[in-house]
Symmetry: C2
Subunit: 211 residues, 2 copies
């Protein structure tokens, strides 16, 4: 049994919830409200010096941070079903797509950065516009990265780490009022994902700590 | 023979240069001055819709973006020497360390974000302070992530993807006037890396396009 430290609203925790569900692995969830800074208590910082969720505690000892590292580990230790394409080149493209979200969109529009903008005296409408910009520009590139890929998922007939990153990010994009309807290929993948209970059950609104 | 699209100053391209050198793989370098926006030409956007460096073109066709995806691909297709620890848990920790830099430090202090701050009317000293903050806070967490790990490298006796991300980020941190001397464990790893020609030859100042 795993213990997953997360927060219903955290897209990075959402990714790990999806991955655990796809693998059919159960996890006890521990929630840290990041709006209230609950992930920065001395006790939690002992587990994760970054003061971020998610963190996965592993039965028998050990814990892992960083959603993509956790997903790679889950995929290596519980290979079925695979969360990466079989072909090395396609695997690299799926990872690149995931990183385009996890590096170049998500951290730039995350609470930590938006709060920092606030301390610089940036007004709320411009902060919202910042979040919109990061999502809009990033997802437009993502749309092109998978435009020529066979669907319905980002990379083929089964969900991969690319879809696991995409679905939570599209939720964020909508919160920032991004007009996502033009990302037709991304929406095909999202629709396919939402047909799977593994994705639906991982959604923020279906978590016990959802407000 | 590979073709690497990069820029001497890009830390993400620097990571791939190190990885290629560690693997003993030669690459023709193509330079895009990101200060001048040369990575956003229509031709380059065809190759990489994100408009970012690095991008690795592979002989015989195909190209890959995102430094960490490229490094994973290089490691899978050219396994020797390994750029990830053998043990699954240590491998996850090395990846998490790399992601703590590649997701949570680098993009937050990258040129794209600093330029955006400029357009919001933020003054230059506060922009520099933003870059300092992102590096300082991020590297302090990284220091704790490896504090208990056997050295001299971040994770043991040979360099991994963690060191490949660390060395370029420490350069950035110094440019933002971060007092790095307190990161004693990170500096042990950096010193071990700098003894290797693979790291030295990849350094920004040793690239043909260095200013």
């Amino acid at each position: 049994m795993f213990k997953l430290h997360g927060f219903f609203r955290s897209s990075a925790a959402y990714r790990v919830r999806i991955a655990l569900n796809l693998k059919g692995l159960a996890a006890e969830q521990v929630f840290h409200n990041t709006y209230k800074g609950e992930q920065r208590t001395p006790e939690y910082l002992q587990l994760n010096p970054q003061g971020l969720v998610p963190l996965l505690e592993i039965e028998g000892g050990g814990h892992l941070s960083q959603s993509l590292a956790i997903i790679e580990w889950l995929n290596e230790t519980h290979p079925d079903p695979a969360l990466l394409p079989t072909d090395a080149m396609q695997r690299a493209k799926a990872r690149a797509f995931a990183l385009a979200i996890a590096c170049d969109i998500h951290p730039v529009q995350n609470l930590r950065v938006l709060k920092r903008l606030q301390t610089l005296g940036i007004a709320e409408p411009e902060i919202q516009e910042w979040g919109r910009w990061a999502n809009e520009e990033g997802l437009a590139a993502c749309e092109r990265l998978v435009a020529a890929e066979t669907g319905p998922f980002c990379f083929g007939a089964s969900p991969s780490v690319a879809d696991i990153c995409l679905v939570p990010q599209l939720s964020n994009a909508r919160r920032f009022q991004v007009e996502v309807s033009r990302f037709t290929r991304l929406l095909v993948a999202e629709t396919a994902c939402k047909e799977l209970a593994a994705f639906r059950n991982a959604a923020p609104e279906n978590q016990p700590d959802a407000e």
